[in-house]
Symmetry: C2
């Protein structure tokens, strides 16, 4: 498996006691029954709702909060495989039972918690940070969850479970992460996509990583129906987000944020949401830290939705009464979801964490991403949704200027180069007047004219400080 | 400035003695004269050749090798700004004099040293590692050098030097990194490009980061001539690679590789080369470690060139007699250079490190990148050149199967999504029969047909192990 340097380090001190921890699937609605994480099961056999991973918290309490923090800090970004990974450095809290040789890791996590100095000054929130989860092997936060899912599959295969392939219906980051981790593990990956409805950029990662990419003459819901049908045959393992293993990896982002602040809790976390698994994961990470005494309070959460795909925003406006909608196409394409898989878990998380839901129009999300880019970032449109929501909450004084705020950036802007180019060069759908447009200036090859253009640019920049 | 968490940490233990170290520019040909790194100077006033940064090695010797390693390990990826950056964790070896508040950092470096397990098995070099330098803020290794250059400029401005903007002629990674770091610092950036000769993907990063992008009616050499002309006016600072500050950041990749192996030196480092600054930087990093006693031996280096831009390969075949050539267009577009700026320094590095030069055709570089992608990577075409060179050296038994090899991956494949898509979907120039092509399979939305397609894929995969 891939990973950081595996130089000869005595890993004994890291692994002791791991075997005494335990975790299992159970129903999110409290139906009785516990299921092994090694079992091929995605839904509660009683009620049909989702399962979630439950940890033996009492066993985890055998180590003190201070000892956990010390252990996590000792492992953080170090060379002992796989503990240098931001996910596997918290292995006991994630999936304790996996043999290290079955872990498929690309050194996920530990992504930059970027201090948004200039952007924060413009917004009058100077303690503003952007967690760059897209700065990763496949370019999105999905790596955090996929390393867990594919590692569990590798363990299952090693244990003799007959699994032929791992499959998902996805037109974006999930398929890219699935294909890469499966390629590293040597496990066949299958991606189902609606024909003629995905871009070259969405296709290229799973193709390059050798996945079987099936282009079906249907829409996305049709692909989902078929992947659920074929994964009833248990030799094809399902990687879509009704599989809750990925949550266990994604929740480490919450732990890592607190760790990067030397175990201080921020006041707010702003996160974009579509299927809503990620906000639930964030909540799980904070809840687990609180339960085990690493933190004493929870941050508030702002869940940010695109106005064109805003069922949770509507529910929030209506005392959390949720109704599915038909989501409209949005530039924030990964969150164009009208009936989120994880809506129940997300509402519980938001209620527990005094959360709010905000929304952003196409114009707002594109402009806000571009405004942040002008201060040195290069974020995906989903991060643009989060940043636009943040601005609204600051303007309404829900978020106050002295508070410490972390925005989750979910993917690298390089995945959206065409969209960003359209914003700056003209012609981006849904955006009439791009407020932060920056087009190339055409000039003859004349040093004098170049110098004068630079002088004008410098003059304008001096007017725009900070 | 951006950076990782700046939680309240007592940084005193990190900063003591920093002020006693010193570094300066001097001529690479040994002309007399030392110039401050804060001076606006790019070439030797006597002979006109390049300058390089020289460190006061005697002062650095006041700390033992063991103490340096301990210091670097203590800082590595931690929260005390800016020392968690892979570059600034080695600040005394890079640019000792900068005030920390003038450092412009995006937590560069500490990129994954990926164990290429499956790919290495296929190649029969099982101790094979790929340093993923493209897993960074702007997606290429250029961040390592640009954080240094822009930080020095910020320091110069703080010290009262009148600098209005930083400029470069570049159609690729350099302009992206320059624009991002300048945007973070609030310093105007200027990028000169040949009109109609760059792709949207090459334009989008500097545009988004608010650089003044001047599209000139000339070719790349014409842009270079103009940027050199306008930077004679010392208020416009030159960021192209004749500026040797960037080398000081790039050399930390060498130190980091050794650090990631718990201070063991690999047997080989394979690196792609065009302008040849990066191989020189790598050599500088290793030389400095050896000089200060952190390592006792040097690795061998393989410099890999595209066959269509191979002046150093030709020189290597001819007892290092170098002649500039006219480079032909290549998929590895960043190294399409016929007259490399750093050729003298690179030849010295290769001679000192028992280096070899190898080349790769268009077909070879594209196929080899695709072959590696099949095992979970997603590398740029320049990395494809390096991997193809590696394969040739292994086949010729210059590199032996028991040796530890590190390949430098210079940029993230997401910067080359169109090229990769063309490889897999057909129509990539210079590549007749893509050996690792993987196109989507079109099917009706029928679970039975999907299941049969998966069964065939699984069967083929089982034949291809590892």
């Amino acid at each position: 498996m891939p990973g950081e340097a595996r130089a000869p380090v005595d890993a004994g001190r890291y692994t002791s006691r791991v075997m005494s921890y335990n975790a299992w699937f159970q129903c999110i609605n409290g139906c009785t029954g516990q299921y092994s994480l090694r079992e091929v099961i995605y839904r509660c056999p009683s009620c049909g709702d989702l399962l979630e991973v439950q940890h033996d918290v009492e066993a985890l309490r055998s180590r003190s909060a201070a000892a956990w923090m010390q252990l996590f800090d000792e492992r953080y970004r170090r060379n002992a495989y796989p503990y240098g990974s931001g996910v596997w450095g918290k292995k006991e809290w994630v999936v304790p039972f996996i043999d290290n040789e079955n872990i498929v890791s690309t050194y996920e996590g530990s992504s930059n918690l970027l201090w948004a100095d200039r952007y924060g000054k413009q917004l009058h929130v100077e303690d503003l940070w952007v967690k760059q989860c897209g700065n990763s092997h496949t370019g999105s936060f999905k790596d955090l969850g996929m390393t867990v899912l594919v590692s569990v599959v590798k363990q299952m295969i090693a244990d003799g479970t007959p699994i032929d392939a791992v499959a998902c219906a996805s037109s974006g980051d999930t398929s890219a992460a699935l294909a890469a981790y499966c390629a590293a593990a040597g496990i066949p990956a299958v991606v189902l996509l609606p024909r003629n409805k995905v871009s070259i950029a969405q296709l290229v990662q799973p193709l390059a990583n050798g996945a079987l990419v099936l282009s079906l003459d249907t829409d996305f819901d049709g692909c989902m129906a078929i992947v659920q049908e074929i994964t009833k045959e248990r030799r094809i393992y399902l990687a879509n987000s009704m599989n809750s293993l990925r949550i266990e990896g994604q929740k480490t982002a919450a732990i890592e944020i607190v760790q990067q602040f030397d175990w201080e809790v921020p006041d707010w976390v702003v996160i974009p949401g579509g299927n809503l698994g990620n906000v639930h994961a964030l909540g799980q990470g904070f809840a687990m830290m609180q339960e085990l005494g690493l933190i004493q309070r929870l941050p508030r959460i702002c869940l940010a939705q695109a106005e064109r795909a805003n069922p949770l925003y509507r529910a929030y406006q209506d005392h959390w009464r949720f109704e599915p909608i038909t989501a409209q196409p949005t530039l924030a394409m990964s969150i164009q979801i009208g009936n989120p898989v994880s809506v129940k878990r997300a509402i519980r998380t938001l209620q527990r964490m005094n959360g709010v839901v905000e929304q952003a129009s196409e114009q707002e999300l594109a402009d806000e991403a571009a405004r942040a880019d002008r201060t040195g970032m290069f974020n995906c449109p989903h991060t643009g949704v989060a940043l636009a929501a943040l601005r609204k909450l600051v303007e309404r004084k829900v978020i106050r200027s002295h508070e410490r705020v972390v925005v989750i950036s979910t993917a690298h802007g390089l995945k959206f180069a065409d969209q960003k180019a359209a914003y700056h060069m003209g012609g981006l759908e849904g955006v009439q007047r791009p407020a932060y447009k920056n087009a190339p200036v055409e000039l003859p090859p004349d040093a004098g004219q170049v110098a004068r253009a630079i002088a004008r640019h410098v003059e304008r920049a001096q007017l725009m400080v900070p």
